[in-house]
């Protein structure tokens, strides 16, 4: 306990420099602006910043990415409240009550609630990050090939189940992501698979260009291919967060923070599910249930606390298992690899201080959003009014630069373009993107551990089903899959409805 506090103190001292504070200020600002602009997601922001920070020191680069990530998730609430358009998918739940408050002339108060909820959510998640990462890190040391194989399958199944509306489509796209990750040289015999003689493919498909395409270029096409929405901004009052709101809804804040953090830890689910789950739980336990959707302070507080608590939560499995808890965390994981940070079960043995460095970065990022929550109001309104016909082509230029910069090869630009077009088509067909990303990230892990496990067990597949952690994981996978079989699904629903009535 005290060792952890001491390590956190050391990390804080290391980041209490002018350079670190300056880096935090500009990267949080960029994050808030990216999040606030509809069409620019946190994933895309973190992916683009990965290329910008390519030449920086690891400690500085990760600080930039975390500040961008936290800032973007918070920034999404601005457009949700002011325009009724979620800046990021994570802010969709905030539209319901945030914009309703804005229409009542209380946009300032709503922004204050979003600021306090986001900061407190980040702190709750941060506390969990500091407390649970060492514990989970120790548990992860017991993970072998069999457990990692099931963890990868579980990640895809749970991500497909919870993101988007149709689990079947989520699973299809998740397993395709796993396949895409296997294109190129395989790990045992160095055999080159599925390249069809195309030499550039033998190194595989890089994650950053694929993500920039799926979340950046596809978004450019989707935004410009949808009807234009008229931006109407109501007059607003003071944006200073009120302590009364925090004290009155402290239970909601703690509950939403816990839900957000937990959903963050679950592989590949992410901030939008965290926000909706926190919102639904707040509504379920609220004494003012009828106000939800009509300008409920509690509803907005729950959504904003939940999505921001998810950010540190999503970083916990990144650090301990090298498995991302959300799409932006997947980019963060890729960035850590680029900068030589070895995330995974050995982190508490090899570089425990880094875990506390990340906690300190989260604290700095929360200070960043407090500052911009208070001062960046009128200027941000002007940014929000920039027409999408101006913003989107600029975004595409950044997508192109972002996909090229990592390896300085045009092949990555082609990957970005391909994933952009595929991503756009898949969105039109209601296929979620998060399982695809998770599949690309987890593909290598699944591939290596399936083969390694089979070699260790000399081809005996029972080894995958008999170890304690494996039993838990495959039972969970089976339960999730079975719960979506039509006959069983309706039976579960009727049982749940009966339970809710009693």
């Amino acid at each position: 306990m005290f060792e952890g506090l001491e390590a956190f103190g050391r990390s804080l001292a290391a980041y209490a420099t002018f350079d670190a504070v300056f880096t935090m200020l500009w990267s949080s600002l960029l994050g808030v602006v990216i999040g606030a602009l509809p069409g620019l997601t946190a994933t895309m922001g973190v992916a683009l910043m990965t290329t910008l920070t390519f030449k920086m020191k690891a400690s500085e680069a990760i600080l930039v990415l975390i500040c961008t990530y936290v800032g973007a998730i918070y920034g999404g609430s601005r457009s949700a409240i002011l325009l009724n358009i979620p800046g990021t998918p994570a802010s969709a739940a905030s539209c319901l009550d945030g914009h309703a408050l804005a229409k009542q002339g209380l946009a300032g108060r709503a922004m204050g609630i979003a600021t306090s909820g986001s900061i407190l959510g980040t702190w709750i998640g941060m506390l969990a990050l500091a407390l649970f990462t060492p514990v989970l890190g120790n548990v992860a040391l017991d993970f072998g090939s069999y457990e990692f194989f099931w963890l990868a399958v579980f990640g895809i199944v749970i991500s497909g189940n919870l993101t988007g509306g149709d689990p079947l489509k989520g699973w299809i796209i998740g397993f395709l992501g796993l396949f895409v990750a296997g294109i190129g040289q395989e790990p045992v015999h160095a055999y080159i698979r599925f390249t069809f003689g195309f030499a550039d493919l033998s190194g595989g498909i890089s994650l950053i260009p694929a993500l920039v395409g799926a979340f950046g270029f596809a978004e450019v096409l989707a935004v410009l291919g949808s009807p234009k929405q008229k931006a109407i901004i109501n007059a607003f009052d003071s944006v200073i967060p009120r302590l009364k709101d925090v004290f009155q809804y402290w239970r909601t804040i703690v509950r939403s923070g816990a839900i957000g953090t937990f959903i963050g830890i679950v592989p590949g689910v992410g901030e939008d599910v965290a926000a909706w789950s926190s919102y639904a739980a707040a509504k379920r336990f609220s004494k003012e249930r009828d106000k939800f959707g009509k300008g409920s302070i509690e509803g907005l507080m729950a959504a904003e606390t939940g999505d921001n608590a998810c950010v540190p939560g999503a970083v916990i499995p990144v650090l301990t298992l090298a498995i991302p808890g959300s799409a932006p965390a997947a980019v963060l994981l890729a960035a850590m690899l680029i900068h030589g940070v070895r995330a995974g079960p050995m982190i508490m043995i090899e570089s425990p201080q880094f875990v506390y460095d990340v906690v300190a970065m989260m604290l700095l990022a929360s200070i960043g959003i407090l500052i911009y929550g208070l001062v960046l109001t009128k200027a941000l309104v002007k940014v929000l009014l920039v027409p999408r016909e101006i913003v989107m082509p600029i975004v595409f230029v950044l997508c192109l630069v972002g996909s090229f910069a990592i390896a300085s090869r045009m092949f990555d630009v082609w990957v970005m373009l391909s994933f952009g077009v595929i991503g756009y088509v898949l969105r039109q067909l209601d296929f979620p993107m998060a399982p695809l990303v998770l599949g690309i990230v987890l593909g290598d892990l699944l591939d290596k551990n399936l083969v390694r496990g089979l070699v260790l067990a000399e081809g005996d597949v029972t080894a995958f089903f008999t170890r304690p952690i494996c039993i838990v994981l495959w039972l969970l996978v089976a339960a999730i899959l079975l719960s979506r079989v039509p006959g069983i699904e309706s039976r579960i629903r009727s049982l749940a409805a009966r339970w809710a009535r009693t």
Binding site: F194, E389, M392, P393, A405, V413, L454
Partner: protein, 169 residues
């Protein structure tokens, strides 16, 4: 039952992904066994792709089955599979063409700042022209967007190449 647009789209997507899954499994079978080094068949490089391909195939068959139960296979009945292309769809197509022209033709042939200036100017003008004409602000808007395009092109060059030492295409 009259099939919905969604069920038809699901049917077509299911068929596409089922064929893709089947293709992955078939292609994986062409990978040699690699058992000469003494390793068992379980290190076969085609094993994992076969596993993924088979699961994609199974899940896609489930999607086809579900959409067929909703009548999605009757493509000629009820709503059309795709909505009639309206202005936003045309805007998307124009954007796609401009983006592809920029990425595949201009980049690499022109200095990046010039290619991005040309792309941004063309995009701003093409996407905004109608609105400017209706509002009667064509000349003023044109000057404004050219200035923005120049500022962004130079800004991107400066920030990436000079400030953060990132190589541009």
């Amino acid at each position: 039952m009259i099939p919905t647009r969604q069920s038809k789209r699901d049917f077509l997507a299911g068929v596409f992904f089922a064929l893709l899954g089947l293709g992955i499994v078939a292609e994986a079978q062409r990978i040699p066994a690699m058992t000469s080094g003494g390793t068992g068949l379980y290190t076969w490089p085609g094993l994992v792709p076969s596993f993924h391909g088979a699961i994609v195939l199974l899940l896609s068959l489930a999607l086809i089955w579900r959409s067929t139960r909703q009548g999605g296979h009757r493509l000629g009945t009820g709503e059309t599979v795709f909505e009639r292309a309206g202005t936003p769809f045309r805007t998307m197509l124009v954007t796609l063409v401009l983006c592809l022209a920029f990425a595949l033709v201009a980049v690499g042939r022109l200095p990046f700042w010039l290619a991005s200036f040309a792309f941004l100017s063309a995009s701003f003008i093409v996407l905004g022209w109608e609105e400017w004409r209706d509002a009667g602000t064509t000349r003023r808007s044109l000057v404004k967007v050219l200035a923005i395009a120049a500022a962004v092109a130079i800004g991107v060059h400066y920030v990436f190449q000079e400030l953060f030492l990132v190589r541009l295409p």
